[in-house]
Symmetry: C2
Subunit: 362 residues, 2 copies
């Protein structure tokens, strides 16, 4: 049935747990005795109702969310959220605060500006090519929210502690590190994530919204751009991305039952990242690009002595079954994305290959 699987270091869409893929495959022609594929069952059926309710409950359990939070599934990825957030959570006469840590923050800021919001970028790491996470900045106590990108896939940086914004609700794009570690959701008004990195395939964003934020949705918005539309109908005002929600539910089950929850998931993720960063730090051939204290546990970015060697490295790695190691096209270099589903054995295989490559070409 299967050929040779590779170790998948893609930045997203990215690796899924093999057990999840096997489960999808095994029930693809007949979903739980329904006589239909999960691709065919009605979203108004008890089968899909069970799927979406399970995905919501597993998210609640893993993130320890109280009843004051809703878990929603909205199509359009994080990119649609960039505009929905200022549309829904902006408040008349009050600014919105953003921290700029790279490409994705910059896009989020642009969409708030298009909406005509009073956008204050209160901190930025652009001065050093977005190679670090800003530490000292003041949040405007009058701001409607403070937005930041919790992990930056392109530059390989990550917030290890979240900013303290007092009573100003935090809003965060967690596309690339959601459910990779435990989280205290209390200070957050909204957390969003395109699913295709840590928790599923492409096709839906997960949106976790604190219920008091729903009071902010203006009446005049298009129906499909209001968070209230999704909150009132358990994400089924219209047909959701059923296959994506189903796969997410299986990934959450895997995190909960196979890994043992988010503390254990974080321990594995820390171990993978430490191994790889330690290897890079002792090497005179490979060089990390993010500042040490801002390093991402999810996306390990590094350079080789020159671009020609980087190209050979990526190509030869693929021949050895190590895929997706090319850096983002906007920055070049190399990147190993090591999300939840990329296991220790993949990182070990990568380090083995790196050592060998350095020995040959270093």
């Amino acid at each position: 049935m299967m050929g040779k699987r590779i170790h998948n270091f893609n930045a997203g869409p990215a690796a899924l747990p093999f057990e999840v893929l096997e489960e999808i495959q095994s029930e693809l022609l007949d979903y739980k005795g329904s006589g239909m594929s999960i691709l065919e069952v009605s979203h108004r059926s008890k089968w899909f109702d069970d799927v979406i309710n399970s995905a919501v409950e597993r998210t609640r359990k893993l993130l320890n969310l109280g009843e004051d939070f809703e878990v929603l599934f909205i199509q359009g990825g994080a990119s649609l959220q960039f505009c929905m957030i200022p549309m829904n959570l902006g408040l008349k006469g009050r600014p919105v605060n953003y921290v700029n840590t790279g490409t994705w923050s910059t896009k989020a800021i642009k969409e708030a500006e298009i909406q005509g919001k009073d956008v204050n970028v209160i901190a930025s790491s652009e001065d050093k090519g977005f190679s670090y996470i800003p530490e000292d900045f003041a949040v405007d106590g009058n701001a409607a929210y403070l937005h930041f990108t919790s992990n930056n896939t392109i530059k390989g940086t990550q917030w290890s502690r979240f900013p303290d914004a007092g009573d100003v609700p935090l809003v965060s794009d967690m596309s690339s590190d959601i459910l990779s570690r435990p989280l205290d959701a209390a200070p957050f008004g909204l957390i969003y994530a395109g699913a295709q990195k840590n928790i599923g395939p492409s096709g839906t964003a997960m949106v976790i919204i604190r219920k008091d934020m729903l009071d902010r949705t203006p009446d005049h918005l298009p129906t499909m751009l209001k968070y209230t539309t999704f909150a009132e109908k358990n994400s089924m005002f219209n047909t959701p991305a059923c296959m994506a929600v189903y796969t997410i539910d299986l990934v959450l089950k895997w995190i909960d039952e196979r890994i043992g929850g988010l503390q254990k998931m974080e321990a594995v993720n820390r171990e993978k990242a430490s191994m790889l960063y330690d290897f890079i730090d002792q090497s005179h051939f490979f060089r990390g690009t993010a500042e040490k204290e801002s390093r991402s546990l999810m996306n390990v970015t590094f350079r080789l002595p020159n671009e020609a060697l980087e190209k050979e490295f990526v190509a030869e790695a693929l021949e050895e079954g190590l895929g997706g190691l090319k850096g983002h096209r906007s920055v070049g270099g190399c990147r190993a994305s090591i999300y939840n589903a990329t296991g220790l054995e993949a990182v070990r295989a990568l380090m083995g290959f790196m050592a060998e490559f350095e020995k040959k070409r270093g």
Copy 2:
């Protein structure tokens, strides 16, 4: 590997061709030697590039589209299109025309009104409970576009000929009959369809837009709500719903190579619908609800002598492996959705069951 498959008469998500499901299953762990599942491959990879280009080309071929049309994949279903259309295609100082043939048209009209457009509903079949398609109406020559719903899933009506609007571009929601029959796209400015009925699973809409319509997109719109964003980037400004596009491509291949194109697809669809309507018309027990000349080839709506019998009919049918025969919750009664992938054998099985049920209870 599989249990008992049912005959699936759901209105959407709906049946997919069995060969398509088998192909998905067979390559789910290793997509074409990539060593990754299609759920895991990067949308920036040659594998997915081939998938989306193939889906676009097959659509072009089947619908005989010229180079003046773009084929796009946009998340959010037809419901998001309801607002994107007036946002993008409305013209300052000019009205937009709509024909109202039921629930979905009504929703499209509502979203144009929310946008503050000058909405003229130039015809409606609401006077007879949306049981027919209006014939005599005048289109405002100054209108930015004329919108209509080509097939109405809830009431079981369908436009057999499209309205003549002169130079006013037609815009049509074809969610429930796209690629069920050949089409002359020339008078259309935009055609859109949630994929989950005739061409794939839920999770993406197909949008076919005439290139001159792209000049209308206002600059100030949010990036993800502009058709130009999708047209300029081959639907990959951000990560698309990869699994949905992949499945659509396989369904289009099935229409093209197994069925033999849209003329043959229409012939099969006509045969299925004729058989079923003929059976209903000769019966004194079952009664069709749509006016004969407006009947849908896709959704056959019918009633039994009373609601208790309808409930028994739907329940007993499911026991016999005939699923999804309940009418839409807003109208009650029964409905057999017989989209492309629901074959002649399914309709024959349904008719056999109906005859037997009538004999027992009639």
